[in-house]
């Protein structure tokens, strides 16, 4: 589902964020990506989202080579990928419902269909009762669950998460991770970047470790 083939990323200021990284994530697999901050986790996710382009090597998502995706086609690619961010990236002037509905509005769904899907997603993350509230009224863990609902509402094939538990206490973190696991069990390919080793080592999934831009553990050959 996600293939990196000797991918390197050097930023214009000369910093090598990734060096010759190769790995493959199978369809319906759940994989953790770990490493210290600055090891290249975020860069790797940004390459999948086409927020950055690799300096060398190739990235394939669902057999599509991302180097063939023109700037204009990027939105189309992003609609197939759900993303959860550490800082949630919610719209604070809109209700929880409107936040979760955003990907569906972009994809052009009808009102009734949007309502149905948003409520289903909010139900899965346990926030159905709060749909009319503003995000500020929620706790950090609840805001993150809104972010997850938004990421899955369009039923993406791939779900990415960048430090989704970064600001949460251990109990909430574990709750969030199990939520990802639940989506993985219904057929979503999940890639979670996290430095919370104690939490992710308890879960039975492959762990890829980055150090200084090199993938040192967990690559399976493409």
């Amino acid at each position: 589902m996600i293939t990196f083939d000797r991918v390197s990323k050097r930023y214009p200021e000369g910093h090598d964020a990734l060096r010759e990284v190769s790995f493959h994530v199978e369809r319906n697999e759940m994989v953790f990506l770990t490493g210290h901050s600055g090891a290249g986790k975020s860069t790797l996710l940004k390459l999948i989202m086409l927020m950055e382009r690799p300096s060398r090597g190739q990235v394939l998502i669902n057999d599509q080579n991302l180097k063939d995706v023109s700037r204009r086609k990027i939105p189309h690619l992003r609609r197939q990928i759900g993303v959860v961010f550490q800082n949630h990236q919610l719209l604070f002037d809109r209700s929880i419902f409107a936040n979760v509905a955003l990907p569906l509005e972009i994809a052009g769904y009808q009102h009734r269909e949007i309502g149905r899907r948003v409520r289903a997603a909010l139900d899965k993350v346990g926030l159905l009762e709060r749909e009319g509230d503003l995000p500020v009224t929620l706790s950090g863990g609840e805001q993150q669950r809104v972010g997850i609902a938004r990421a899955v509402v369009n039923k993406p094939q791939v779900l990415l998460a960048d430090e989704p538990t970064g600001n949460l206490d251990p109990a909430l973190s574990s709750e969030i991770m199990h939520l990802f696991e639940a989506f993985n069990q219904v057929g979503v390919t999940v890639l979670v970047a996290s430095h919370d080793l104690s939490l992710i080592s308890r879960m039975q999934h492959r762990i890829m470790t980055l150090r200084g831009g090199n993938l040192i553990v967990g690559a399976s050959e493409p």
Binding site: H76, G108, Q110
Partner: protein
């Protein structure tokens, strides 16, 4: 994606049509959503929106108001046949009968459209009435004024050379002492009007540019204010047109509201001028009635405002929106 798959399973033949239909419908839907949402945002900030509307309104009202004024002047001056008429002052010894004969004979000429005889008596009476020298004139033994024939060119007028030729021909008549072409003031008025029209056009162009800049800058600020939102929308797959649309509608609403404001300003100003102008017209025994913008002109003004808004926001969006990318 998912939807297309189900459609495929259901009915392969009409799949592409269904997809095309869905795309069109969602496009229309998002236009409606952008239009209403951006209007709600403007109405949600009534003070700043009103201020912007009136800035635009004033900028539009100046050239449009001048245009309305010019149209009124034109409708007044259209009653006066340009280019003018020739006044034939007859020799003092020409009698009234001879003058009437002359008037009739002049009508036969091809370069004459109409004639009007003003007798010495009539001219004196008119002069007494209008000049205020009535008492002085009454004391004169003799009427100093000659008989006068006013000659107008045929319909459609004469060009400069033909008018000169007509003037020379009339001057040569034995009965005529002096022939004067009353063209200068019409020419002056015409060139004044032409100058004013150009002034209005250049003022209108300048102020339209001003409106563009005002709207462009307002939209730029709106884009800055919603930077985070734009980033998020792009992250979850919003295309450039999707991100652009609400801002373009915001620009259209600014321009549209500004045009409405200028319509209001012009209507109020004209209403305020109407009273004094009509009493002035009465004094001049004129049928003149002040013409407003009219429904057609008003709609054209709204269209102009909306287009300026769209153009201004487009300029801002093209410059600033592309630069905002998630990082």
């Amino acid at each position: 994606m998912k939807r297309r798959q189900t459609a495929e399973r259901r009915d392969g033949a009409s799949q592409s049509r269904t997809a095309w239909h869905a795309v069109l419908r969602s496009w229309v839907l998002h236009h409606q959503l952008s239009a209403t949402d951006s209007l709600h945002r403007l109405l949600g900030n009534p003070v700043s929106s009103l201020m912007t509307w009136f800035v635009i309104g004033i900028a539009l009202a100046m050239p449009v108001g001048m245009f309305v004024a010019l149209e009124n002047v034109r409708s007044v001056s259209a009653d006066w046949d340009s280019p003018a008429q020739v006044s034939l002052f007859l020799r003092p010894e020409i009698t009234l009968e001879a003058a009437q004969l002359l008037e009739q004979s002049l009508l036969q000429r091809p370069d004459v459209g109409a004639t009007r005889l003003i007798t010495r008596q009539a001219a004196l009476e008119e002069f007494q009435q209008l000049s205020g020298f009535g008492d002085v004139l009454a004391n004169l033994d003799d009427n100093p004024l000659p008989n006068l024939v006013v000659v107008s060119p045929p319909d459609g007028g004469l060009d400069g050379a033909a008018a000169e030729a007509m003037l020379a021909g009339l001057q040569a008549l034995p009965e005529v002492e002096n022939a004067i072409l009353d063209m200068e003031w019409v020419q002056r008025l015409n060139s004044l009007m032409q100058l004013s029209r150009r002034l209005v056009v250049s003022l209108g162009a300048l102020l339209s540019l001003g409106v563009l800049l005002v709207i462009g800058n307002t939209i730029r600020l709106a884009i800055e204010n919603r930077r985070q939102e734009i980033v998020i929308v792009k992250l979850v797959g919003g295309s450039d047109p999707f991100v652009r649309r609400p801002f373009l509608y915001t620009g259209i609403w600014y321009g549209f509201g500004g045009a409405l404001a200028s319509w209001l300003i012009i209507a109020v100003t004209l209403g305020w001028l109407r009273g004094p102008l009509s009493s002035l017209a009465v004094l001049y025994q004129s049928e003149f009635r002040l013409q407003g913008l009219g429904m057609e002109g008003g709609l054209a003004l709204l269209l102009l405002g909306g287009s300026l808004g769209l153009l201004g926001s487009w300029l801002a969006v093209a410059r600033h929106l592309r630069a905002i990318e998630p990082d």
